[in-house]
């Protein structure tokens, strides 16, 4: 059986999250000391070599993003922003990190700041996460007291500080450019991309945006080296990933494992199998903006590339398990209702498309069986068009669950009463 390997969650449950001394005793802030003796390029090269990919959902190579932001200008003002607006349904890994080991985030963020020579950092935490907000605030205050934050950190000449900003209930603000709009005190409307945040981010300045889990991996990578990190997980998605398993399993929860374990291992070994003696029907991977996997796909490896070969997504690491009794059309309905509600209305394809697709799915079971295939294909066509013409990832998302459910469960959709 595969065992948990905890890197991002290395201290979770082992130390008091409100005590910086306990964090320091667990090798805390050693990576920061090491980083400050190195150079910015030394840091981002190490992260590039480690193969770490963004853990928020998109899976972009983290070090490459850092290097771009570092090199874009030498002496200009730059920012690091931590995306802690975790709102993808079924995802709660960032909350666990912030609640149980907030210093791992703070330390990672200072290292990220040093690597691009940033002057200031913001952690944008969703407003509903009140315990995360208070724990991270405490960690920032303690770090400042110990001179890990502020002017001339540990005598290195590098100065950096961090502030928390609270979100206020908008799924869309988890999208990086929309998050920046919100951070600037505005309505959460997406920006047109490019320019990317590395070129023009917060207040038009170069900005590095990283997810909580991504940053929590920084200190261990700097301390133990890229070679060590690469020795864990698969070649193309090295390291570990925190999976959050929910739904019809015996042991719902969070599990950090090397990438490359199978969906079966995740659900049956870690998740303890299906509840109430029932059988597995489907797993929604990556949340609402995710994909439906069927029993035939249980042996696929949980890595960005392996999943992609099967039309599936790793996303944020959410695994929502459904047993044989679950109505998939009903799940689709909830998902489409969610997108309809969260669409900001700025661009027409998404504003109209999310509402129309929701209506169509609501009426799906009324459609005569012989007309279902055409009906569903027209929905797919619409979702595809929406994905191609929408401004931001929200309008590009509904196609994911729709296409995967069609690929893997068309028999059921076509015969369902």
């Amino acid at each position: 059986m595969v065992k948990e390997v905890r890197i991002a969650l290395r201290n979770s449950g082992k130390i008091n999250p409100e005590s910086i001394d306990e964090y320091i005793n667990a090798d805390g802030y050693q990576a920061l000391r090491k980083a400050l003796r190195s150079t910015p390029s030394g840091i981002y090269d190490e992260i590039i070599d480690s193969g770490l990919r963004g853990r928020g959902g998109a899976g972009f190579p983290t070090g490459t993003k850092e290097k771009t932001t570092a090199l874009i200008c030498a002496d200009c003002e730059k920012y690091v922003v931590c995306n802690a607006d975790e709102g993808e349904p079924g995802t709660f890994k960032d909350r666990v990190i912030m609640e149980t080991d907030p210093h791992s985030l703070v330390e990672g963020m200072i290292i990220a700041g040093f690597s691009i020579n940033a002057s200031y950092g913001y952690i944008y935490i969703r407003g509903e996460y009140s315990l995360s907000i208070s724990r991270v605030q405490k960690a920032i205050d303690q770090a400042r007291e110990k001179k890990f934050l502020g002017e001339n950190i540990l005598g290195s000449g590098y100065s950096f500080d961090i502030e928390i900003r609270r979100g206020a209930g908008s799924y869309l603000c988890g999208e990086e450019l929309t998050l920046l709009e919100s951070l600037e005190g505005k309505r959460g409307y997406p920006r047109i991309k490019p320019p990317y945040p590395a070129e023009r981010g917060l207040w038009g300045k170069p900005t590095l945006i990283n997810n909580v889990e991504t940053l929590a991996n920084f200190a261990p990578i700097i301390l133990n080296g890229a070679v060590w990190y690469r020795s864990i997980g698969t070649e193309k998605s090295p390291g570990t990933k925190i999976f959050t398993v929910s739904g019809d399993v015996n042991n719902p929860g969070y599990y950090e494992t090397p990438t490359g374990l199978t969906l079966r291992e995740l659900i049956f070994d870690f998740g303890g199998g299906i509840k109430n003696g029932r059988t597995f029907k489907a797993a929604l991977l990556g949340g609402a903006a995710g994909t439906f996997a069927s029993a035939q796909l249980l042996d696929v490896q949980m890595g960005y590339d392996k999943l992609k070969e099967h039309g599936l997504t790793l996303g944020s690491g959410a695994v929502i398990v459904m047993d044989e009794t679950r109505d998939l059309v009903k799940s689709l309905e909830t998902i489409m209702k969610f997108f309809k509600h969260e669409s900001c209305g700025k661009c027409i394809p998404c504003r109209l498309g999310t509402a129309q697709i929701y209506q169509s799915i609501c009426g799906f079971s009324e459609i005569p069986v012989q007309k279902r295939e055409d009906f569903f294909k027209s929905i797919l066509k619409q979702a595809d068009l929406m994905a191609k013409t929408s401004l931001c990832p929200l309008g590009q998302s509904p196609i994911l669950p729709l296409r995967s459910i069609w690929q893997n469960f068309s028999d059921e959709l076509l015969t369902l009463k």
């Binding site: 995802t91 609270r166 908008s170």
Partner: protein, 148 residues
Amino acid sequence: MVSEILQKYPRSKDYLLEILHDLQNSSPNQNISSENIVEIAKHLNITQSQVLGVIGYYSMLSNKARSKYLIRVCNSPICNMLGGEHTIEYISRKLKIELGESTPDGLFTLEECECLGNCAAAPSIMVNEKLYGNLTPELIDKILAELK
């Protein structure tokens, strides 16, 4: 109270959400009143409609008066699958209010919200800043009784 909160923040527009959170949390009706909107706009040197536009966009914020206890029921696909809809129905029946309404005694307001990130303990609700999971009718009865 308003001026105390405003003084905590620099006169920079990006603090708008922080100010709105603080004001709403300090209000007995858990909202941002029209008078407060005027004060915020003045402090940050922005228009009142800008303030109202931001309040209107974010689901946690409201200019409409709510109650002492704001119950927000998670409506994510997971909570929904594991009985979230029944949770809304149950609370709604028990308090005799629909979604978006408040009880006449000013004690409870019922709203739904998106994923609360408590999926391993679905279905979940949040009452003001406190999170409750693994809800059953008995547990809901207990929570409401303790608040009354």
